[in-house]
């Protein structure tokens, strides 16, 4: 098979030292930015007394799932009920927004009077 005619000139890949340096700096910054989330994730698997251990144990010595079980089973804070409440709010506000946004802009470009766009 003759491939010589189909070979496109490939861009020369050279390692760009400047780009690597900037990548390193910004990856450090990016990781610092998400550290609070990672700390929170690791804390969610810890026993209460281990949370403030320092140096930080990013991977708990004995990972606990009990925190996750507890939030679903606490009778004084019914998490499932709260979850449903959030779903309720999200569902109806999205429906409400979509419907009112569908109907509201209709007249405004068609009305030419002053203030036609300001009634909503």
């Amino acid at each position: 098979m003759d491939t010589t005619n189909h070979v496109k000139p490939r861009p020369i890949r050279r390692f760009n030292a400047g780009k690597i340096a900037w990548t390193f700096i910004f990856c450090v910054l990016g990781i610092i930015t998400i550290l609070p989330f990672l700390w929170m994730l690791s804390a969610s698997f810890k026993k209460p007394l281990e949370i403030y251990d320092f140096p930080i144990q990013w991977i708990p010595t004995e990972p606990q799932v009990s925190n996750y079980i507890k939030i679903w089973n606490n009778p004084s804070y019914p998490f499932f009920r709260f979850f449903l409440n959030s779903v309720n709010v999200a569902f109806f506000s999205v429906i409400g927004c979509l419907f009112s946004a569908r109907q509201r802009p209709m007249p405004s470009p068609r009305l030419n009077s002053r203030g036609a766009t300001s009634y909503s």
Binding site: T23, I31, P36, Y52, F54
Partner: protein, 266 residues
């Protein structure tokens, strides 16, 4: 739709305690507004709010522009970095505040320990009037940065490549290209972000309500939090409405000034 707005305007000239029914609304004239001028608590919350806004807006604008400029085409892993910086913005502010209370814990919190490893006495973070507002600023900058970066990245896509080529032919170095091509091309984006960031910074409430309740010693009371205290703790609906309208006036004037200065510059 305008009813709540008009009702608060009317209330700001009245005296009402929220619980005793509409028949007890009493007209008070300009009393509420005059009362605000001599109210130390209001003045200090106004000053706190200005300090908060100036620091948060300037730091957020500069940092987000720099980060967006670099992660646009000067680094590998662009998508990872964009996601990393955007993550705080999509997280819920109540959850974030609770996590940062733990991070800021003054004797054992991770941030305290990290500062101590440098051999420096750690600040008391939220527990001291001198550092409480700064600690909240640090957190809200961290939260808001990602949004500004993403909008700046979108703006950077629209900068025409020919301009950079032309600047290169003219012998511009990368700093000159940034100052004379990137920055002017982003002026629309900068204007939009400046306006929304200022407005948001004047409306800060969530982190303050959760993390400090305006304390210690009123050092983190900002306008919206003071308004909330007046309305729902002290039941002075009239005065609270007056604060709301002062806040509206400030935001309105700042935004108007921006629009004016923009018209001039074009």
């Amino acid at each position: 739709m305008l009813f709540p707005v008009l009702f608060s305007l009317i209330l700001s000239f009245c005296e009402w305690d929220l619980i005793s029914g509409f028949q007890n609304i009493r007209f008070a004239g300009l009393e509420n507004y005059q009362g605000l001028i001599s109210d130390d608590w209001f003045v200090s919350s106004l000053m706190n709010n200005f300090r908060y806004s100036i620091v948060v807006v300037s730091v957020t604008m500069v940092l987000s522009l720099v980060v967006a400029y670099f992660i646009n085409d000067k680094v590998y892993f662009k998508k990872f970095l964009r996601t990393a910086f955007f993550m705080p913005y999509i997280a819920n502010i109540a959850a974030i505040s609770v996590v940062w209370i733990a991070l800021y814990q003054p004797s054992q919190g991770p941030l305290t320990r990290i500062v101590q490893t440098f051999g420096v006495a750690s600040p008391k973070w939220l527990a001291s009037p001198a550092t409480a507002l700064n600690s909240i600023m640090l957190m809200t900058i961290w939260v808001g940065l990602g949004y500004n970066i993403v909008i700046y990245l979108a703006g950077l896509q629209n900068v025409p490549g020919e301009l950079y080529e032309a600047a290169e032919i003219d012998g511009a170095n990368s700093f000159a290209k940034f100052m004379h091509v990137t920055l002017p091309s982003l002026s629309h984006t900068t204007f939009f972000l400046l306006t929304t960031t200022i407005i948001n910074s004047f409306q800060v409430f969530g982190p303050i309500n959760i993390m400090t309740q305006g304390g210690p010693a009123r050092s983190t009371t900002v306008l919206v939090y003071y308004m909330y205290l007046l309305a729902f703790r002290y039941h002075k609906m009239g005065k609270a409405s007056a604060v709301a309208w002062v806040l509206f006036g400030i935001i309105f004037v700042v935004t108007l000034l921006q629009f004016r200065s923009r018209e001039k510059s074009i």
